[in-house]
Amino acid sequence: MLWVDKYRPKTLDQVIVHQEIAENLKKLVTEQDCPHLLFYGPSGSGKKTLIMALLRQIFGISAEKVKVENRTWKIDAGSRTIDLELTTLSSTNHVELSPSDAGFQDRYIVQEIIKEMAKNRPIDTKGRKGYKVLVLNEVDKLSREAQHSLRRTMEKYSASCRLILCCNSSSKVTEAIRSRCLNVRINAPKEDQIVKVLEFIGKKEGLQLPPGFAARVADKSNRSLRRAILSFETCRVQQYPFSSNQAIPPMDWEEYVSEICSDMMREQSPKRLFQVRGKLYELLINCIPPEIILKKLLSELLKKLDEELKHEVCHWAAYYEHRMRMGQKAIFHLEAFVAKFMSVYKAFLIETFG
């Protein structure tokens, strides 16, 4: 089993990184009724872990007895019937799902499926809580319509159902939903916190950690605890005992993105644009989400760019990222960004160096 799963805190008490939040959550559910919750924060900061620990706190051990279901829902949408396939993860008391998986039909999931689930009040046995919990992942990817449908559901069925929403960025969740939830911001762990966790794992695994090694891993992890633990383990697989200057292998796709980035910096020509398109396709084919590609691409570019261009390039990245969300064919927008960058950068180079 991977360490990242092995040493995942199962209860709120075991939490190392966000102890304060964990305590608050614990108080929240033990002392009073749990409100709707919105967890947001960067990936690898521990949102999911906290949610699972919270559920365990509420429902006890049965929350961990989950089953995975992949079922097809038939939804009557006016004139036609839509078949939606959705994977859910559920225990007796909670259901977890990612409504954004349905793409632009996510509205129907919210309107029909979630409503259906919310309606059913669990039978209160053995003094368990009289409500069930719906965990919705990636709420920020929900379309606007779906979010609008969601807010009604949140109010109407709040007696029997609590929603726990989980997303990376709260800015993409509508105001209306945010105001109906208790917003819990989960920060990315600080590097020393990551080091602490890594040392904890090292101790449990009985590993010899060279001084500064954990710090380097933490540094490379981009403040994602998950990433840190995973690459820690990768290092372990790669070479043990550790040496203090051991290379920390980057993620395959990140490596590829930085390749693209240096391609773009080196030459700005239609030919290069064409090659970059091929590489972007490659990334998309390997299931890297386009937003992540764009984000990573930007951050790689920013590392190398001149100060005066940074602002403009950031502007364009944001511009195309927004448009990508409105559009459907991600590659068009990625390519438009690359073309724009090349045009801007080329102009800059010519202006500066003639």
Binding site: E69, N93, E282, Q328
Partner: protein, 970 residues
Amino acid sequence: MQRDIRKWFMKAHDKGNDNASTNAEKKPPPIEPKTETPVREGQEGSGRRKTSKYFAANKQKQKGDEEVEDLPAKRKAQNDGVQSVKAPPSKKVRKVEDDEEDDDFSVPKKKNGASPSKKLKSSSGRGIAQKPVDVNESDEDDVKNIESPLKSGGRGRGGRGVSGAPSGGRGRGSGRGGFMNFGERKDPPHKGEKEVPEGAPNCLAGLTFVISGTLDSLEREEAEDLIKRHGGRITGSVSKKTSYLLCDEDIEGRKSSKAKELGTPFLTEDGLFDKIRSSKNIKAPAREDSKVPVEKVTSLPKKSPQKADLKTHKDLAAGSPLAKQKNQAIKPSSLTWTEKYRPKVPNEMIGNQSLVTQLHNWLKNWNEQFHDAGNKGKGKKQNDSTAKKAVLLSGPPGIGKTTSANLVSKMLGFQAIEVNASDNRGKADSKIFKGISGSNANCIKELISNEALGFDMDRSKHLKTVLIMDEVDGMSAGDRGGVADLIASIKISKIPIICICNDRYSQKLKSLVNYCLLLSFRKPTKQQMSKRLIQVANAEGLQVNEIALEELAERVNGDMRMALNQLQYMSLSMSVINYDDVRQRLQGSAKDEDISPFTAVDKLFGFSGGKLRMDERIGLSMSDPDLVPLLIQENYINYRPASIGKDDNGMKRMRLIARAAESIADGDIINVQIRRYRQWQLSQAGSLSSCIIPAALLHGSRETLEQGERNFNRFGGWLGKNSTVGKNLRLLEDLHVHLLASRESNLGRDTLRLDYLTVLLKQLTDPPSACCPRALDEDEAVEKVVEFMNVYSINQEDMDTIVELSKFQGHGNPLDGIPSTVKAALTRAYKDENKSRMVRAADLVALPGKKKALKKRVAAILEPSDDGLREENGDALAESEEENSSDTEDTEGTGNGEKLQSELLSLNSKGIQVEVELKSGKEKSKAKKTPTGRGKGGSASTEKKPAGRGRGGSGSSEKPGAKRKEMSSL
């Protein structure tokens, strides 16, 4: 010698009783005037001599030989008298043709640099008495020039040998607008700087031009238009008949070398302009002259002996035929021209003569072939591929399929019964004894199963019938089972059946084609068509320029019927029709063609892409609103925009590309609005931003970006890539579900891809690849991997997915370092583990005798894991205890869903019994999850196990049908 032959011809003509060969008939007039003008004759003679000498020196010696051969034959014919003219008509025709060509060829020689009208002017200055003769002569020249290619289609092989080149060249010429030439031709250097002259309408009549290379100020299309407007002809390649090679720079291409070889004069663009301008100066006389040719041209062609007679009359009295035509025209006709001029005999059919003959033969032999064969054993004949009982004529509309079917049957004395789309052609009642009772299909059944209805059989000549099934590809919704029924009919038919369709490759007709003799009609060439159109125009007393009719023929894209309709329509408003009229008229109403996305993109990005009108652009981009944007997106980078002038560092181009890319992205956003929110009113805006703007920014010449790439537009890569993305996402989702099912982790799909995948891959591939260099024990490595796979319930397909998703172009395959022996060992070990593995996901259940266990991702089954997902090989007691506890626990726990409960009930009511097999002993308890090796019941129980839990059942009951199928198949 030449003159001798002419005299002989004259004689034959003078005798006036020769109506055998119309071509021969046509010939004499040209010669007559020539003999009367000795000066000209001398010139011509020299010209001819020169050319023949040329021929001798030329490689076309063969031709010369033919000529020589022809001559004795001709002399002999002369001796034999008039009758023999009939005997070798083809040869004669050929000879005539050769003569004509020589004449044609000599024409430019003597008029070097002067337009025909100019020449006419000079000659008219010579004396009034001579003028009519001159006019006549020039007319004849015109006629010949125009007519000679026309004959090529109708004539046999020999003819094609002579004039095939120009017509073939034309075929290529019409494709000139296609993508082949993009990038080869540059923009004219002085584009639009010169004033294009306007001359007398027919000042270039009779001249044939070939355009080569880039002209000084005109685009190729403009030059073509200019020449056509003034009555000239354009061909694609240089031949003997070419009057001028129009070029401003000698690019040493094929055309110019051929022209040099043939001695064709070169003409610059300025020369052409001068020619046209000079004609305008003498506009008044030229007009007169040019008017006359038109009339003559239209009146001259001959389609039947009658016509020829008419023409001889005309030679005597120029006025009379006109009057006659007028009479004809005045005569009110209730018929449309398409009906009026429908061919009456097969020979009148335009083009496809061989197919008509084939049809004729087939129909003629039908009775012998099938009736007699039907009486004896027909099995043998049936296998003969040539002997099909039905025939299928296919081809685009308006080229005479129905007409030829009708004609042929009429000619052979068959009574044609035509059934077309206006009749109901559904399946006939199978119970034929019910009588025909009004159903058309039953009528057909009756018809084909009976022969010669009601006529006594003993008569030798009984009435024969043929069934013509028109528009068989139109058999659709209303004609349920029509095609199948038709096939059945063909099998039992006692009369021949002719089926007609437009699209032979239609899906509907797939089965039918096997039972039919296939005859594919082709579009007639435009020469063939214009010939026929001239006849019609003549008969209607319409004055139409030949070039105009050719243009018409080209515009309608081979559809004779449409051409006639257009002609008739135009005749309502005008009695003289020239090139510009046709052009204007058909500009908008050109026949809709299927335009492929590639062609559309070619046109949009093409050099002249900037000159297209907006509606044309919209039309092009709308020709396929889904594919065209994809093609544009795929290829826009490849174009070097023509709109920017000098671009030394590629900056301008890059900027344009960025703008185009943004516009394409706009198009995508609009497309979302259109599709998702059904805002179809945006579709024009969509095509504007996704196609037209990028094309307008970047149209120019295409260049390749990769080595070895062909310089054609690629097909849009998005479709393929998108489907690969979809496939990979599905695979990833499978893996995701398995990981979730392992309960080891609770991760999102994106997290899985972004963070976990690299580590998973390392875990799966590192130990095996490490066992080589570090001599890690192979078994140990394998064991490690298999253990890891078990923990996360990764199966081998998932492993493939992981590897697949980690492959990047230019990076090595992650599996490269692993020796194949280790891979094999791994597979083996994994397979072995199957027997003892705890199954967590439904699709991991391997059913004996079934390759694919369950539909993928139907349901994932889980074991509770908090109290240990211990040991796959753990002790049996614990296992079975766990089973029990989980069962009991779930019965209380299912409280969460009445729904689930009810589903479970419904599952039961559906007859799927829930039985939990608990067997004693380690092996058996294990068997619950590992059905391998157990019989029928065992696997069934695996199926039911989830049901017993009341949970998996709900998952699987979503697909009761599939489930039951699964059950029944067990």
